[in-house]
């Protein structure tokens, strides 16, 4: 993506460039870069982008927040920025103010369920919750007798079993056992677990697209530096064609993800057309992560397989992000069912809806 004229993205890119340089981060085995980065992002109000001013946030538009997530993907940022943004967004749907500090959303998988009792206590077990261990609060979507609720929960009220995703980032199991929330309110109409998963899925799609843009960038650069058989490998037609395919996958991911973000940002509700956009983005971006990441590694040869090289920061994270908020196989089944129920003659009108 070209340089942004968006002030939110500009601010974020400057912070990432100063404090989240992938090479520096990769060399820092202790993770001492995380605290200053999070502090700078917080001071700029970025983690609470999607929280209105009166609920403690910075009140950026959905569109600006999505663009910020794409930029975060380009730097393969491994702090709970997307998670805190999603949590703030979810809480704001029920007019619950966001606290300071890291947050994440529970559940992070369409199959997991949290239930809410009559007295407001929350129970359930959710796997694969990104950055749960780093979070001070959870934004929880829960199901009860009276429908769907949104709750703010102090993270210390939950039991957390640590886990790592394939990108070496925290992906934990959160168990709530009659946990009392800080606040709980009914979710407004149209906000349910599917909505949360689609929002999360589009966030991940934008991050994957960003990671692919960077993978293309560093792969092209590497191919112009690396000499083999007495020439730059970028001069070999087979390498050129691989990089052209990587550019295609990167472009497809970016097109699908930005289109879905735009659709959500301008939608009045999550109708079938928005569902198509969001589900398709997650499916296509996940496919692009697999194909594109494979090519990026192929171009880099053995050096890209080492922990010293930065390539894995993008490739493994893009692969890991496929799993959050519903995998591509999950969404493909759901989208396929939607298409089948609407019937053959309604497929094209759905695809050509905007």
């Amino acid at each position: 993506m070209a340089e942004s004229d968006n002030i939110v993205v500009e601010t974020a890119e400057k912070i990432f460039a100063d404090l989240a340089d992938p090479q520096t981060i990769n060399n820092d085995k202790k993770g001492s870069w995380q605290a200053p980065l999070w502090q700078a992002l917080s001071e700029a109000g970025l983690p609470l982008s999607w929280v209105p001013d009166d609920l403690g946030g910075s009140g950026a538009s959905l569109a600006d927040g999505f663009a910020l997530l794409n930029a975060a993907g380009r730097f393969a940022v491994a702090v709970p920025l997307a998670e805190t943004m999603l949590a703030g967004w979810l809480l704001a749907q029920a007019r619950i103010a966001s606290p300071e500090g890291e947050m994440t959303v529970v559940p992070a998988s369409p199959k997991d369920r949290i239930t809410v009792d009559a007295d407001g206590a929350l129970s359930g077990r959710c796997r694969g919750v990104p950055f749960a261990k780093a979070a001070k609060h959870f934004a929880v979507l829960a199901h009860g007798k009276d429908g769907v609720s949104i709750a703010l929960v102090d993270a210390s009220k939950g039991r957390i079993e640590s886990g790592l995703n394939v990108g070496y980032d925290h992906s934990d199991t959160v168990t709530l056992d009659k946990a009392q929330p800080v606040a709980v309110k009914a979710a407004p109409d149209g906000v349910d677990q599917t909505t949360l998963m689609l929002m999360g899925g589009v966030a991940r799609s934008l991050q994957i697209a960003g990671a692919l843009e960077s993978m293309l960038d560093i792969s092209v650069r590497y191919s112009n530096e690396r000499i083999a058989f007495e020439k730059k490998i970028s001069k070999f037609q087979a390498v050129q064609h691989n990089l052209a395919r990587l550019a295609g996958e990167s472009a497809a991911a970016l097109a699908a993800a930005t289109s879905a973000a735009d659709a959500i940002a301008n939608a009045k509700k999550f109708d079938d057309e928005v569902y198509l956009e969001a589900a398709a983005a997650k499916i296509r971006c996940a496919e692009a992560a697999e194909k594109g990441g494979g090519i990026a590694h192929q171009v880099h040869g053995a050096i890209g397989f080492t922990i010293e090289h930065i390539l894995h920061r993008y490739s493994l994270r893009a692969l890991a992000w496929r799993d959050d908020f519903g995998s591509e196989s999950y969404w493909a089944v759901e989208l396929g069912k939607l298409v089948a129920v609407r019937g053959a003659d309604q497929l094209w009108p759905l695809v050509a809806s905007r």
């Binding site: 070209a2 050129q240 472009a251 497809a252 398709a280 296509r284 493909a332 396929g336 089948a340």
Partner: protein
């Protein structure tokens, strides 16, 4: 960033949606009238002159061209919608589509005024058909290797040589062709080719049919023997056709026709599978729809760039590469997913007939209009690799 590839989420404006309804209604009328049958792709009736004239009457050919040449001065996005609906309906557009997409724009840019005034309105009325004379025996994608000679003579040129793979030459009224007017120079291999407007159905041109593996007839070999082309039929710069030919390619490479050619098998799969698909079918359909949606977003995005007057050559090549590989694989994926459709499904026979034809069509999709290898070379150039 190495390559600032942009695919902005362009949305079709409201007036496109109105137009879309009009096109759908028109196509439904034509099907009812029996002009074409979208469920019978292996048809022999693809050349339907009356259909072309009726499309012309609606103002849907040359839509973006100036009104004084018979156009409507409408946007590329409106044209996009018409192309899309025609393609999805499997409408018999072969007779006018080449002129609409490529030949007309070339004439608009390079033909003398009296020729524009003569030919463009007839294209818009759906009365005439164009062919493109690029490939030659043993040249193909390597346009520099074209040998067919145009030798200067009194008042014009004499053409000698052979064009090949020329779609629709047997029904075409005109061809826009590239001939060699000078040898290439050592410094510039691209030098020496000139673009000409050729009036077909004249002495000195012989059109020989070439059969295709689909069973359809579309390709031809076109042999020129001392064929005369007048001076005012030279299009653009003598010896400078290379740049002219390549600058048009974004139009040819990113449109809906570059990912929808086998779309009909997906619709028929959904129909055959029914409302309650098993998990495997649902997943397969979901993935294909996600891929289709993504390509369409990319293609609409390029149409928006063209509308804005940009030249998205690399982006268009990416759309064609991904789009044609997809439409090529689609019949095979559908065949795979159709394996468990009930033997008794009432529309299974239609699906099988469609698949049979689409599978035979598939091999050409990554060849026509610039091979995958050529496209990837263009993309690589855009990435700064060559």
């Amino acid at each position: 960033m190495t390559a600032a590839l942009r695919f902005d989420p362009i949305r079709l404006p409201e007036k496109c949606e109105q137009l879309r309804k009009e096109v759908r209604a028109f196509l439904a009328e034509e099907m009812a009238r029996g002009t074409f049958n979208p469920f019978k792709p292996n048809r022999e009736d693809t050349d339907v002159p009356e259909f072309c004239r009726r499309v012309g009457e609606r103002g849907w050919i040359g839509m973006t061209w100036p009104k004084k040449y018979g156009g409507q001065e409408r946007s590329f996005l409106e044209r996009y919608v018409v192309t899309e609906e025609m393609r999805v309906a499997n409408a018999p557009t072969r007779r006018f589509f080449v002129a609409d997409r490529q030949s007309g724009p070339v004439l608009l840019k390079y033909a003398p005024e009296h020729i524009k005034m003569d030919i463009l309105p007839r294209i818009c009325r759906g009365e005439i058909c164009f062919a493109i004379g690029m490939s030659e025996p043993n040249s193909g994608s390597d346009l520099f290797a074209a040998k067919t000679r145009a030798t200067k003579t009194d008042g014009g040129y004499l053409i000698n040589g052979t064009k090949i793979w020329t779609s629709s030459a047997h029904i075409a009224d005109y061809m826009i062709a590239i001939f060699r007017t000078s040898p290439p120079t050592k410094e510039n291999r691209r030098h020496g080719l000139t673009q000409f407007l050729v009036k077909m159905k004249q002495p000195g041109i012989k059109v020989n049919p070439i059969g295709q593996i689909t069973g359809q007839y579309e390709f031809n070999e076109v042999v020129f023997t001392d064929f005369f082309v007048p001076d005012d039929h030279v299009l653009g710069e003598v010896d400078g056709a290379w740049k002219q030919a390549t600058s048009e390619l974004a139009y040819e490479r990113s449109g809906p026709e570059r990912f929808l050619e086998t779309y009909y098998v997906l619709t028929e799969l959904v129909r055959a599978v029914g409302a309650n698909p098993d998990t495997r079918s649902a997943e397969g359909i979901g993935r294909l729809v996600a891929q289709l949606h993504t390509m369409r977003r990319m293609s609409v995005s390029v149409a928006g760039m063209l509308q804005a007057g940009k030249e998205p050559v690399v982006e268009a090549s990416i759309v064609k590469d991904i789009g044609t590989v997809w439409e090529q694989q689609l019949p095979h994926r559908v065949r795979d997913l159709a394996a468990f459709v009930e033997e008794t499904a009432s529309n299974r026979e239609t699906l099988e007939r469609q698949l049979d034809f689409a599978i035979k069509t598939a091999p050409k999709l990554t060849i026509q209009g610039g091979t995958t290898e050529v496209l990837r070379g263009i993309i690589a150039r855009g990435l700064g690799l060559r």
